[in-house]
């Protein structure tokens, strides 16, 4: 039905965007922009067209525009997702766009995910903790190929913030680390180069702002653009952390 509409002609699209400008004291309000759909149009293309032809002040963030960098997370019809890879043909002609909640609002669709993510990195110490410095000229320490792949599986997070925005728990209690934080811990826990023990990880996430705060609503899993196995990783961590905490 929708597909036909596209190939036969061009739909008229309405982008209903939640505008705001905290620095200038402009409170959030909806504004509609009308444009014609084009073949293969993504929200990246549509928003740039709005900016170029209708409102040069419209704020939004894109970087790679290929679904890799995680800059363009926003609420698309209420659901967190990456705008750059959302094809308009998959959406109804009225598209509502709003900035991700939780993160500090910069203006219009732009939010400060970077600050939040840096905070998470510092709080959870998301780097390999190792007591020795590697000898760079020596052969690298071997690692099982399957293990390397399993680590990469968890390393694919692009910090777009979709899981954060999708998490009801986090929205109620902003001190909760969220799926992204727990996934990072799972990633470093899996990595043999990180010398931290479960007790160390318990220090970081062993309370209700950490893994025990998760209420298993699983929107994180369902909105993650990278399809990370968040559900199973959080469950796994919960078992490990209970074992270490008992």
């Amino acid at each position: 039905m929708k597909k036909n509409a596209v190939s036969s002609g061009h739909r008229a699209l309405t982008l209903r965007i939640l505008r705001s400008s905290p620095t200038e004291g402009v409170a959030p309000h909806w504004q509609d922009f009308h444009l014609e759909e084009a073949e293969g149009m993504t929200l990246f293309i549509a928003l740039n067209e709005v900016r170029e032809t209708l409102d040069p002040a419209l704020q939004f963030d894109f970087v790679c525009r290929a679904g890799i960098c995680g800059s363009c997370g926003m609420l698309i019809n209420g659901k967190p997702g990456l705008a750059c890879r959302s094809l308009t043909r998959d959406l109804d002609p009225l598209i509502t766009l709003a900035p991700l909640p939780v993160f500090e609002l910069i203006g219009d669709l732009s939010v400060n995910t970077g600050k939040w993510m840096r905070g998470t990195a510092e709080r959870l110490e998301t780097w390999v903790h190792s007591s020795q410095e590697a000898d760079l000229t020596a052969l690298e320490a071997p690692m099982e190929p399957e293990l390397a792949e399993a680590i990469y599986e968890l390393d694919r997070c692009i910090e777009c913030g979709c899981c954060v925005a999708g998490c009801g728990t986090l929205r109620m209690r902003e001190e909760f680390v969220g799926a992204i934080g727990l996934n990072k811990i799972a990633r470093f826990r899996l990595d043999p180069r990180d010398e931290r023990s479960d007790d160390d990880f318990y220090q970081l996430i062993g309370d209700d702002t950490g893994v025990f705060g998760c209420m298993s609503l699983l929107a994180c899993q369902d909105v993650c653009p990278k399809g990370l196995p968040l559900q199973t990783q959080i469950a796994f961590l919960r078992r490990k952390m209970v074992a270490s905490g008992l």
């Binding site: 007591s131 209700d208 796994f236 209970v242």
Partner: protein
């Protein structure tokens, strides 16, 4: 409210904070000396699940026992007496039932207390969640909201029911129960309780499986779909069973309304079947 417990400092071994020597402090990323975190959050999380699981399992058993009324009055009568220990004690002792109810009530209160930590702590949290849910239109997020409200309802419904059973254990029987439900006007409460507890319990079990990663298998997404189906089946089955049982009590209650208060005495024929228990049964207290 939610984290008041861990901040209360119970059983928190306060490790002395020793300053690290300058050099070590700079390089030692891994070994930082911190106050050791309380173990209680882990325990409470486990207890929350364990109490929920216990209650859910109890509920399953409870529903089957209660539904024995659908077989016959005698069957329910026998089950009721069984729990009074009639089959292995010299005589039935209703305080045994009180004991069981007491345990359930304790777990119930404990569970409610633990789960309350997850309730929105203030109006802001409440509003944020409600808006979030409306905006996201996400299945499992919606389920939690249902769980929250059914849990809240259970505070009252469950407590009234359990208190009744605790204080009048001897008044469990085909006529006794039917009279309470119809003549005693308990049926509206039971109807609500039935819906609340079945829905709450089934969602709870579903959540338990996801939360702890039970039955994940090779394809967790498929498992999750199956679990969801199982959850719905669980709700439907037990709601059906519960409604049928409740209806049976109501019918019995209507039929027995003019003789309300009269206790049930099993017919000879069935008592014969029960063989040597006959004697014991005839000596039930107040009978």
């Amino acid at each position: 409210m939610d984290s008041s417990f861990d901040s209360s400092g119970i059983a928190r071994p306060l490790a002395p904070v020793r300053p690290l020597p300058e050099a070590a402090a700079r390089s030692a990323q891994a070994v930082q000396v911190r106050t050791r975190k309380s173990r209680w959050p882990a325990r409470l999380d486990l207890l929350q699940s364990a109490s929920g699981l216990f209650l859910a399992l109890f509920l399953v058993g409870h529903m089957f026992f209660v539904s024995s009324i659908l077989i016959s009055k005698e069957a329910f009568y026998a089950v009721a007496r069984f729990f009074e220990g009639a089959y292995f004690l010299a005589e039935p002792r209703p305080w045994l039932v009180s004991g069981v109810v007491g345990v359930v009530l304790t777990v119930f209160v404990a569970h409610a207390w633990l789960a309350m930590r997850k309730f929105p702590a203030n109006f802001r949290q409440y509003k944020v969640f409600a808006e979030h849910k409306a905006q996201l239109r996400h299945g499992d997020t919606g389920l939690w909201w249902i769980q929250l409200w059914t849990g809240f309802a259970l505070f009252f419904l469950g407590t009234v029911h359990l208190y009744g059973m605790l204080t009048q254990p001897e008044l469990i029987g085909p006529y006794e129960s039917a009279d309470r439900i119809w003549t005693g006007n308990m049926w509206p409460l039971y109807l609500l309780l039935l819906f609340a507890v079945e829905i709450h319990g089934s969602i709870g079990l579903y959540r338990l499986a996801l939360k702890w990663g039970w039955l994940e298998g090779r394809d967790p997404a498929a498992t999750r779909r199956r679990l969801r189906a199982a959850k719905t089946a669980f709700s439907v089955f037990f709601l059906g069973l519960g409604l049928a049982s409740l209806l049976a009590y109501v019918q019995l209650g209507i039929a027995h309304a003019d003789k309300a208060g009269e206790r049930y005495v099993p017919q000879r024929a069935s008592a014969v079947k029960l063989g040597e228990l006959e004697f014991a049964l005839s000596r039930r207290p107040g009978g």
